[in-house]
Amino acid sequence: MNSKLLKIFYAALITVFAYEVQAQSIAAREKKPGNAERLTADEILHLSDYSRNGWDTYFVRTTIQNFEDNKLKEEGVFDVSIKGTDKTLVKFLNADVKGQYLLMVDDDMWIYMPNTRKPIRITPLQRLMGNASNGDVARTRYAQDYTALFKREENIDGIPCFVLELNAKRDGSTYIKIDYWITKTTLRPQKAEIYLTSGKHYKTIHFDVYKEIRGRMLLTQLTITDRLREGRTTIMKYSGYTQKEIPEKYFNKDYLGKLR
């Protein structure tokens, strides 16, 4: 092979390589490398929801512990029933709020107060308890609420993660913007940073513990750190995941007064 041909060959090789690098770079932005190479950011988000939701219709007991300066200030226990991607019913179990229910259908929420026997329409920003908003308990399928953009890859505690930017699909979503770390190998949520409309960093969520429950690896503990109020953290624990059929009418606002 003469030198001219060799130069043409190298030029062609460099062109092809450059094209491949550029193509891979575009793919990295739109599709993901690693095991999830062929998945879009939205698909990764969708798959990550599986480790926060056991089945299509299920029940889970949620315990929320609020800490101030590492001291436990309050603890709340809730029974959460989830049906499909859009319906959640939260039953309050603590003595001071016993008989209250929170109903969430799509982006819309009602709270039933047993004192007044009345369901009240509420906004997503109204807090359930401490740093946990209603949406933190009731909305666990982020793929329903947010569109995802791939930002970068990053290691968290030595675990390689995709970093996605989630933007609210609708006005009624719990948060406007979330930076979301999902492990590359298992596609489990690892960390979330939540921002307010003003751009302020509002909360950081660490998804701490996953356990195998009836053949599935499911989230059993997360920690929320308040970035606006120093020293305030919330731990949410999930237990008693049970697949369960729940009548449709339980998710009708008018039925709240009949629930026990």
Binding site: A95, G99, T116
Partner: protein, 424 residues
């Protein structure tokens, strides 16, 4: 089917549905002491002699809720003491009902139950089947609201429902049933495009048909808006005759109330517009405007006050009268006081509530403002939760305004409640 047959069917359904259910219960015990600053100078209650107000009182209220399957009951027991009377004890069955699911889409309820239909926070003009309550205590902290005796049938269709209610506040006294006027109400509710929307109809025997609608909508993550409107042709509300003409110097020999607009073709309406906003720091604000066309206007209120003041002058002795007339005048004041309503006597009101909770502490500030005479009830309160079972609260209620105004003329200028609450 006979009446006994219907009861039997209901009981059989009830027993079937009670199987394999767990008992739900709630219990609260509240002890609340009140210090009251009596308004001696008010013409409504000359020298605190027309309707004597206590300066100190205490109430112990126990509330027990039991739910088992479709069965539920809510019981209230109160022990009241004050510096004027001997202790009183009250026992109330607030609710006692049976909810039965005939199918997954069809439910019936029979018994005494509190039904709430309106989205309003302090006012609920479309709450045609609900008990009367006070805007200054929207959360009913002592659990004193009672249900109505009713039977309902509700059909659920996805995000919609249709409810028919039959109400009869029947009483059982001295081994005999006393039936009340029959009431019928219908509500069609749907949730569409983010709107909670209800259409409501109500008819009471001997009264007027009322129709209304209410709605609620959340905008973004912080703002909720709601509204209610209720219309009827004519009004069966009873008004004191003193409000009709400028002639306050009258002493009525018989009950002076009359239905002034019973045959009227005028449309009377109640309207509520409101909303709530939650700030990023967690502060929640509720704002509501309420108009009730059956309430008194400024002129009618002025005439009523002049009538009261005339009789107050007789009580004070600044107008001389013989003892028989003085007693008749006192009776006239007592009759006139029946015009006052804890839900507001005039036609335009504004309600504002600010609320903030830090976890164990929560703070609430209620302002209930008469938009015609600008008198107001203002209620700051604080609640400290020691644990999920025990909390303390304090609540200061002040009535402010000119001496002729609705709240500025009330019997008390302010009162302070301090309470402890135990919950299971």
């Amino acid at each position: 089917m006979t009446f006994r047959g219907s009861i039997l069917v209901v009981l059989v359904f009830g027993v079937i549905q009670l199987r394999a259910q767990s008992l739900e219960y709630r219990f609260s015990l509240v002890d609340e002491g009140t210090l009251n600053k009596v308004r001696i100078e008010t013409p409504l209650n000359y020298n605190n002699q027309i309707l004597p107000q206590s300066s100190e009182s205490n109430i112990t209220a126990a509330n027990l809720f039991l739910g088992y399957g479709g069965f539920m009951t809510s019981l209230n027991f109160n022990a009241l003491t004050d510096n004027l009377k001997i202790p009183e004890y009250e026992y109330t069955i607030r609710e006692l009902s049976l909810d039965l699911s005939l199918t997954d889409e069809l439910d019936i309820t029979i018994g005494k139950k509190i039904l709430k239909w309106g989205p309003g926070y302090a006012f609920n003009p479309t709450g045609v089947a609900e008990p009367q309550r006070s805007p200054s205590d929207p959360s009913d902290r002592l659990g004193r609201n009672e249900g109505r005796k009713l039977a309902t049938i509700t059909a659920f269709f996805g995000r919609s429902s249709l409810t028919f209610v039959y109400i009869n506040d029947v009483r059982y006294e001295s081994s005999k049933l006393y039936w009340s006027e029959q009431e019928f109400a219908l509500r069609a509710y749907t949730f569409i495009n983010g709107f909670d929307l209800s259409l409501i109809g109500h008819y009471k025997e001997g009264g007027r048909f009322k129709a209304g609608l209410n709605w609620a909508k959340v905008i973004g993550s912080s703002l909720e808006l709601h509204g209610e409107v209720l219309l009827k042709k004519g009004s069966s509300t009873q008004y004191h005759r003193a409000i009709i003409i400028d002639n306050e110097q009258r002493i009525f020999a018989a009950n002076p109330y009359a239905t002034l607009f019973n045959q009227s073709k005028r449309i009377f309406y109640k309207i509520l517009l409101g909303g709530q906003y939650t700030f990023e720091n967690g502060i929640n604000i509720v704002l509501e405007y309420y108009h009730d066309a059956e309430g008194l206007n400024k002129l009618e209120w002025k005439r009523w006050m002049k009538f009261i003041k005339f009789h107050n002058s007789i009580q004070q002795g600044s107008i001389t009268a013989d003892p028989v007339l003085i007693e008749a005048s006192r009776l006239n004041i007592l009759w006139a006081l029946q015009t006052l309503s804890p839900r507001g006597t005039m036609s335009d009101y504004i309600f504002i509530r600010q609320y903030y909770s830090t976890g164990s502490w929560s703070f609430e500030f209620i302002q209930f403002l008469n938009a015609q005479d600008f008198s107001a009830v203002i209620i700051p309160s604080a609640d400290l939760a020691i644990s999920e079972h025990v909390s303390f609260y304090s609540r200061l209620t002040s009535f402010i305004g000119g001496s002729d105004s609705e709240f500025g003329a009330l019997f008390n200028s302010c009162y302070l409640n301090i309470g402890i609450r135990f919950q299971l």
